[in-house]
């Protein structure tokens, strides 16, 4: 056997250090995952999933597992309250507060047998690659969140200076009961003015009950030095509805895998997102929509703006299984390139095995529309300002459509500021 890559060897070592814990099943799960790591190669250009990612940051630094005992309890932040008062706060990957939250939050170590089984099933069904195996092998902070009423929960993942050159793994399992409605805002931020170079694995798995309705936001607004491997997975059951919106600001590397599975008929998914990268940032969205049941619909729109030397990846797959007749599925990805040094790799994929479906997919890469630019200039607006307005407009269309006004009101200045700084 060839020698293990230092990153993998280090992850296995870290996993080993976690063994002493009260939950035997979780220890066992980590152990099995760590064993899997022995068979993993460090990704290179030949690994399709990582083909366009620059992973040198993982080899350049050693990220030690963050020690949850040394964490300070930072005072909690009113700034997030305007988004939603019911807040669940993770600081550096560890749960700190459930202030204002009426939902039941159970650490995975304390799950009952049936929940444990569900959790394991969900984890086993996840994508299999180096990143998910490392996450599983390091998993200690995990929670089961039971959503039973008409709720809106703001889940804040807050990163402090303590996370510098440290890694953490976090898992949230959301279970939305049948016939219920819930809104989840997942919000990733770094302590003000800190450019923390951290490594985080964060997975959120959603099980959406029959005829239930989930509105989901995932805002990746943390430091531009951050490395984030995220995964989001939706299991849609009969007649369920899911609206998910993503925003990703580039980081050292932010790679978010989104999967949605239509398990039963009548379900609808709307999946939209925006990504923005500049400098030497990287942002990567891999989405995969599985239609395994008939009469389901999905619509997906992602837009990206890339500037300077930044790099973005979008891979959108729709897989329509043989029995998923009468499926309606659409995917659109549009990109705006603002400089000659930036890069976008986009790939829409459509795999159809049923014969009575309606599908559309498309991807475009374009530069700033010169006619639009001239139009604004001819009304007195300076070129640089006109460029900012057009770029912002390109993504603003998706922001305007957001269901919850507080979220769009929160995002607009954050993004506006970003465009100001680009100039």
């Amino acid at each position: 056997m060839s020698e293990l890559h230092p990153f993998i060897a280090n992850s296995i070592k870290q996993s080993g250090s976690l063994v002493n814990e009260q939950s035997p099943w979780l220890s066992q799960f980590r152990k099995v995952s760590a064993e899997q790591l022995l068979n993993c190669d460090f990704p290179n250009r030949k690994h399709e999933h990582f083909k366009y990612n620059n992973l040198t940051a993982l080899t350049k630094h050693t990220f030690e597992l963050i020690d949850s005992n040394t964490l300070s309890k930072t005072a909690l932040f009113e700034t997030f309250n305007e988004l939603n008062p019911a807040t669940l706060v993770f600081i550096d990957g560890q749960l700190q507060s459930t202030e204002g939250c009426s939902i039941t939050v159970t650490p995975i170590a304390d799950l009952n047998d049936s929940q444990k089984q569900t959790a394991l099933d969900l984890l086993r069904q996840d994508r299999k690659n180096l990143v998910t195996e490392v996450r599983n092998s390091l998993l200690s902070s995990g929670f089961w969140l039971e959503l039973t009423g008409d709720e809106m929960v703001h889940v804040v993942h807050y990163f402090t200076e303590a996370h510098q050159f440290k890694s953490s793994a976090n898992l949230c399992l959301f279970n939305l009961a049948s016939n219920q409605k819930a809104t989840i805002i997942e919000h990733f931020v770094t302590e003000e003015k800190q450019s923390v170079q951290s490594l985080q694995y964060q997975s959120s798995l959603f099980s959406i009950g029959n005829n239930a309705e989930l509105t989901h936001y995932r805002l990746q607004l943390e430091s531009d030095q951050a490395i984030h491997f995220g995964s989001v997975k939706f299991h849609l059951n009969r007649d369920s509805r899911c609206e998910s919106f993503h925003i990703g600001l580039g980081g050292e590397l932010k790679k978010i895998d989104i999967d949605a599975i239509h398990n039963d008929s009548g379900s609808h998914l709307s999946l939209n997102g925006i990504y923005l990268a500049k400098g030497h940032q990287q942002i990567d969205y891999h989405t995969n929509v599985e239609h395994t049941a008939p009469h389901c619909t999905s619509s997906e729109v992602f837009r990206g703006i890339v500037d300077e030397k930044a790099k973005a990846v979008f891979n959108g797959r729709i897989h329509i299984h043989k029995y998923a007749q009468k499926t309606l599925a659409e995917l659109s990805n549009k990109n705006l390139l603002l400089s000659t040094g930036c890069e976008i790799n986009t790939k829409p994929e459509l795999e159809i095995y049923a014969d009575d479906v309606r599908c559309a997919h498309g991807a475009t890469v374009s530069q700033m529309d010169k006619k639009a630019l001239f139009y604004l200039q001819s009304r007195g607006i300076e070129k640089s300002k006109a460029e900012r307005m057009i770029s912002f407009g390109f993504i603003n269309e998706l922001i305007e459509q957001l269901k919850h006004q507080p979220v769009s009101e929160y995002l607009k200045p954050v993004l506006g500021q970003l465009f100001e700084r680009t100039q």
């Binding site: 639009a372 139009y375 001819s378 009304r379 607006i381 300076e382 300002k385 307005m389 407009g393 603003n396």
Partner: protein, 249 residues
């Protein structure tokens, strides 16, 4: 006010304007008519300085300032306004945001204090009412999904808000029904002022029934081949352009 001297301009290396002269004084309305391909739209685009239009020689000055030395946004701030033949759709940028940015930029150029939001909103609402556009259009993306007539009315609304010195209307009547045509004409007529001049580029005499010009010029093959009073437009309507083109050749 606007003075164009011996202007030669080309698009994609094709010579379109071949020595055009035009003198527009404050308060005057000039109509420019002419057959397809005569260079009518090129004139407007050259004056507003679209980058794909090349000025070979000649000059154009607005109140003594050479337009070709200025960026498009500077020309606008100096008081030149081009109402586009094909207004551009800019999704995601609301009409209001666009108008405010435009007014603010021009105020900044002139060293004036920008309007506060309340006065701006009041002005914008009045202007949209004047051109018969529902207020919901102010919140929509710039020209996004507007019908042909709505786009043109939006142009006139911008003109009302910006209060330019010299307005060039590039086939603003094309694609308009009679009602919209009257709205557009009323907008222009309301803005007529001893200090403001208009150059109305059109194919048809119809618009000139509503916006009565002081002078009518016929543009053919890149030059003005005939100038006259408003009765020239009527003559053209009867005889067509061919007799003039033959005369020019």
């Amino acid at each position: 006010m606007l003075s164009i001297k011996n202007l030669i301009a080309s698009v994609e290396e094709k010579n379109i304007l071949k020595g055009l002269n035009l003198e527009v004084k404050p308060g005057e309305v000039h109509a420019i008519m002419g057959p397809n391909g005569a260079g009518k739209s090129t004139l407007g685009n050259v004056l507003a300085v679209r980058s794909d239009y090349q000025v070979e020689s000649g000059s154009a000055t607005l109140d003594g300032k050479n337009l070709f030395d200025l960026e498009p946004e500077e020309r606008a701030a100096e008081g030149l306004f081009l109402a586009f033949q094909y207004p551009v759709e800019i999704p995601g940028v609301s009409n209001l945001e666009f108008l405010k940015a435009s007014l603010d930029a021009i105020a900044k150029y002139k060293g004036e204090t920008p309007l506060d939001s309340v006065s701006f909103m009041k002005m914008a609402r009045e202007a949209s009412k004047a051109v018969n556009l529902d207020q919901s259009f102010l919140k929509r993306g710039v020209n996004e999904g507007f019908s042909g007539g709505e786009k043109k009315r939006n142009e006139i609304m911008q003109m009302m808000l910006l209060q330019p010195k010299c307005c060039i209307l590039d086939e603003t009547d094309s694609g308009l029904d009679i009602d919209a045509l009257q709205v557009v004409a009323k907008g222009v007529n309301d803005l007529r002022d001893p200090n403001r001049s208009f150059v109305v580029v059109t194919h048809y005499q119809r618009l000139l029934d509503f916006i009565v010009p002081d002078y009518v010029h016929v543009l053919a093959d890149g030059k003005i081949v005939r100038s006259g009073g408003k009765e020239l437009a009527l003559e053209l309507e009867q005889k067509g352009y061919s007799w003039l083109e033959q005369g020019a050749a």
